[in-house]
């Protein structure tokens, strides 16, 4: 699991393990789901499968980004369901070695720490690896 998909969100460099990624698609028609948490953008059709679209900006408390057009969706599997993480841009797939992994900096804000699996050190950049499980397993639904 040393291959990662890299992406950009609000100028930040993120990545996610390639084994959890099902697909990368352009964000298309999303059906809103009223009463859902604000970071759920809605549901969409991915070749006959229903994918719950997650507005990562809202999840991380970032400012809303434009009208959403041209944005990309990284579809990940979690607990039998498919979730589409909406990001600004998906860049490439990279291979890393274990010694490039590092822990979270102690000063990482809580919202980020909650979804982080750690930092990846590249020669020219630092990537935050996000954990799909932590993005979609929600305190809201546990309470209900």
């Amino acid at each position: 699991m040393n291959q990662l998909v890299t992406m950009t969100l609000d100028g930040r460099e993120l990545c996610v393990g390639v084994d959890t990624v099902q697909d990368v698609v352009r964000l298309e028609t999303v059906t809103p789901v009223p009463q859902a948490p604000d970071w759920i953008a809605g549901v969409m059709n991915l070749r006959g499968h229903i994918v719950t679209a997650v507005d990562l900006r809202a999840r991380l408390g970032l400012p809303a980004g434009g009208d959403g057009s041209g944005r990309m969706c990284v579809v990940v599997d979690f607990d039998g369901d498919a979730y589409g993480l909406i990001v600004d841009k998906v860049s490439e797939v990279i291979a890393i070695t274990d010694d490039q992994r590092d822990g979270d900096p102690a000063t990482l804000p809580a919202a980020w720490r909650a979804i982080s699996r750690g930092v990846i050190r590249l020669d020219d950049a630092l990537l935050l690896e996000i954990d799909p499980a932590h993005i979609v397993s929600l305190p809201q639904s546990r309470a209900a």
Binding site: T29, T31, P32, V33, P34, Q35, A36, P37, I40, G42, V43, M44, N45, G48, I50, T52, V54, D79, G80, D81, A82, Y83, V136, S137, L138, Q140, S141, A143, A144
Partner: protein, 830 residues
């Protein structure tokens, strides 16, 4: 192994698995009432099943545990670690006994006096003097091995591996599910293709598309059938249950079943078993009286429980009735007060219909004593929630002294759901059609007015108030003030309306569960992909009604008595037209016959399509301008006769003939449609065949031919009713609401062959109108008929004096049409 035992084992194993998580949570959080409830229900189910399968050991154990759980649940005891341990031990013991049962087919020898004693002490049913014993037992509880006796895995395999029938093979349910999913996708893709193709008339594609479409239809049908089983599988255990119950209760009970061959989805079959057993148990215990009581009441000593299943449209109705004592409203009322559901004042003011619905409320049981059979407050509320979980509805009707009837409606399958697509604030939602009893359009001017009571929207429906849930408001959408369509939802003791902006269509949805991130939202019961490829959320009407209290809502009408229903019913011919999924209907009485026309018999004459039928050239009425006869094969058509001439109306497919009440009034902008009605559980487009025949067949001639009638009536209801009625009878009707409007038409030079006027408009306007018309002017010679309500005969003298030629009764359509016909004949003869 006995089939029943096998059933019991698999059911209990499933239940135990389901409760596993709950048990762990319960251990951590023993104060959680919901968890306690779940565990209580499991144990109750186990006990009930043991009773009739004949497993005394398990039954005794479950009974003791249930007593303790019941006391904990009702708050009579507080949850202590000791109680938690005892419950966990009991569940574990049940698991051991069940797996032993699975291996040997028999309940293992032995007793559970240890656990039972402990449970009874904890329940407070036995003195504390058994305390020391209790402690000892905890330490020396038998191990699973000694308890069950030596059995090995080999035995199990031998026991389970039966010989298969050569005519059938075993296929895993998983594979069938996969097939179903693929076929569902195929159907969606086909629908998309067909939609695309309709926009671009490339005929080379038409043929292969038709064949593909038909083939997919057949494939879907076959795959659906692989999942279907006769419903009798769900009630095979019931005769034995009834027999055992009758013995236990000292009653004489007979079980009659009907429609056991009605097929439904295997998955549904499993899910409907428990509720049915619960209901039968209730009927035997609470419904049927003891033989001597029945004799005194003049009834046969043997009580009857009848179970009927039938398929109606896309769902199955199961009717369970008993000829027992019925529900006693006074007892329900007392019980409602006892359980704190109602205050004395509320209870006194509550109607009997509302009271009967209380039996679906949690913790409501009217059995006077706690028996072994039922009456612990698990009962109809569990049945209701089980039925609702599978997308069904349940209703109850009772006649004190005569019996009780439960009507359960469940979908044929969980995989495909007929749904109504509605819109609110620009977002589309699907509503399961099984829950929709009626569609009503609110209208300021009509009797269906939407009003607000302290801000809460309500609808006046047939003289009662129907509480409304504004969908946009409930979902927190930005709504414009134009929601005017109401879906009347009737389900388990609740009737309410959902207010939406628009109603689009019906569609068969392949239901998929929502992702776990959305599972906590109670207003949705699933999502699905529409024919156009977009995703739609499916609303759960019960979840939406979450805050409507069960007690405060009335049905808006009393249950119709049988006779009324019979009179209202009309035989309808259902068909599909224009490639749409929504079925269309015409009254069967208008259809002369159904023809299957060979493609070669069509010919073109004078720019119109005609067909040779039994030597006569019959014009084709096409559903729309683009219609073309098929290039090969056959074309189904409905044959109508009008003024002695025949016409064939081309349809896609004749579906069915059903008897149905037509009562709904979602009007349509399409002049060829009378509106939408729920027929056989589906929204159906009622086709105005008279309009089609007149306008499509020969517009110019039809216009000249049809007698013109002017109708003057101030009641919108009468105006709405007469319009379609007269049109159907072949008249051209002009309908106005008041006298002044009518006179304006006269002054404008409009000519009519007959005038129908309300004779009883306020302020004697009707009589005045008659005098004015007859006094002179272009209309003085036109026959003038008075529309009167029944019982206003004394006024006819006055009416005749004013100038009315004849009187007809408004609401008697038969007489009205006859009178009109007779009047015209007289005119012509004269």
């Amino acid at each position: 192994m006995d089939d029943l035992i096998q059933e019991f084992v698999s059911e209990t194993e499933e239940n135990l698995q389901a409760v596993d998580d709950d048990l762990l949570k319960f251990e951590r959080n023993p104060q959680d009432a919901g968890l306690l409830d779940e565990i209580f229900r499991l144990v109750h189910t186990v006990k009930g099943s043991c009773g009739f399968v004949g497993l005394p050991r398990l039954e005794a154990l479950a009974h003791a545990a249930e007593t303790l759980l019941g006391n904990l649940r009702d708050g009579k005891l507080t949850v202590t670690p000791g109680a938690v341990t005892a419950i966990l031990d009991t569940v574990e013991r049940i698991r051991q006994l069940t797996s032993a049962l699975a291996r040997t087919g028999e309940e293992p020898e032995g007793r559970d006096a240890d656990l039972i004693a402990k449970l009874e002490v904890l329940s407070g049913n036995r003195g504390p003097e058994t305390g020391p014993e209790d402690r000892e037992i905890t330490a020396t509880g038998p191990t699973p091995e000694t308890l069950i006796g030596g059995t090995s895995a080999e035995d199990t395999a031998a026991e389970r591996g039966g010989t298969g029938s050569p005519q059938s093979i075993r296929v895993s349910v998983e594979l069938l599910e996969e097939l179903m999913t693929s076929v569902s996708e195929l159907v969606l893709t086909r629908n998309q293709l067909l939609q695309e193709h309709r926009h671009q008339a490339s005929d080379s594609m038409a043929m292969p598309l038709d064949r593909l479409s038909a083939q997919i239809g057949r494939l879907q049908d076959s795959v659906m059938r692989t999942r279907m089983q006769p419903i009798s599988g769900a009630w095979s255990a019931l005769p034995k249950l009834v027999r055992t119950l009758a013995l236990d209760l000292g009653k004489r009970i007979e079980l009659e079943t009907e429609g056991g061959d009605t097929e439904l989805d295997r998955q549904m079959l499993e899910l409907v078993k428990d509720p049915l057993a619960h209901m039968v148990r209730n009927a035997a215990d609470h419904g049927i009286e003891a033989p001597d009581v029945r004799r005194e009441a003049g009834k046969p000593e043997t009580g009857t429980i009848r179970l009927c299943a039938a398929q109606e449209g896309g769902h199955i109705t199961i009717r369970l009735s008993d000829d027992g004592q019925g529900l006693d409203p006074d007892r329900l009322r007392r019980r409602a007060i006892e359980t704190g559901l109602m205050s004395h004042a509320d209870a006194a003011a509550t109607t009997e219909t509302q009271l009967t619905r209380l039996i679906f409320a949690p913790g409501f049981s009217t059995a006077r004593t706690v028996t072994n059979v039922s009456g612990r407050g698990v009962g109809m509320d569990v049945v209701r929630s089980n039925v609702e979980r599978i997308g069904g509805t349940i209703e109850v009707e009772t006649m004190p002294g005569r019996g009780t009837t439960f009507l359960v409606r469940i979908p044929l399958t969980l995989a495909i759901m007929p749904a109504l697509i509605v819109g609110s604030a620009g977002v589309r939602f699907a509503v399961p059609q099984i829950a929709v009893a009626e569609l009503v359009r609110t209208d300021e001017a009509s009797e269906h007015r939407m009003e607000r009571v302290a801000g809460t929207p309500v609808l006046r429906l047939r003289g009662k108030l129907l509480p409304l849930v504004d969908l946009g408001e409930a979902l927190g959408l930005e709504t414009a003030e134009n929601a005017d369509h109401v879906l009347v939802i009737r389900s388990a003791g609740m009737v309410f309306g959902i207010l939406v902006d628009s109603i689009y269509d019906t569609e068969e949805l392949v239901v998929k569960p929502v992702s776990k991130a959305l599972a906590a939202l109670e207003v949705y019961c699933g999502n699905a992909i529409l024919g156009d490829g977009s995703v739609i959320m499916i609303l759960d009407p019960n979840g939406l009604a979450g805050d409507i209290s069960l007690v405060g809502t009335d049905s808006g009408e009393e249950p119709e008595n049988e006779e009324e229903v019979e009179n209202d019913r009309e035989a309808l011919l259902l068909f599909r037209s224009k490639g749409e999924t929504t079925p269309c209907a015409v009254p069967l009485s208008l259809v002369a016959r159904i023809e299957d026309i060979d493609a070669e018999d069509f010919e073109r004459s004078g720019g119109e399509w005609m067909v040779q039928l039994r030597g006569a050239l019959v014009p084709i009425v096409a559903p729309d301008a683009d219609w073309r006869p098929p290039s090969e094969g056959r074309q189904p058509a409905l044959l109508f006769t009008r003024h002695g001439k025949q016409a064939a109306f081309a349809v896609d497919e004749v579906l069915d003939i059903v008897e149905s009440k037509i009562k709904l009034e979602l009007s349509s902008d399409d002049p060829a449609s009378l509106g939408t009605a729920v027929v056989a559980g589906r929204a159906t487009n009622l086709i105005d065949i008279a309009y089609l025949l007149r306008h499509r067949l020969d517009p110019a001639k039809a216009k000249e031919d049809a007698p013109r009638i002017l109708v003057v009536d101030d009641s919108p209801f009468v105006r709405n009713m007469l319009g379609p009625l007269l049109a159907e009878a072949g008249y051209r009707a002009t309908i106005v609401a008041d006298v002044d409007e009518a006179l304006t038409l006269r002054d404008r030079g409009e000519r009519f062959d007959m005038i129908l006027s309300d004779a009883e408009m306020p302020g004697a306007k009707g009589l005045e109108f008659a005098r004015t018309v007859k006094a002179g002017g272009p209309w003085s010679g036109v026959p003038l008929l008075a529309l009167a309500s029944l019982g206003s005969v004394p006024e006819t003298q006055e009416g005749r004096a004013a100038g009315f030629d004849r009187y007809v009764v408004k609401f008697d359509r038969q007489t009205l049409l006859q009178t009109l016909g007779a009047s015209f004949d007289k005119e012509r003869a004269a």
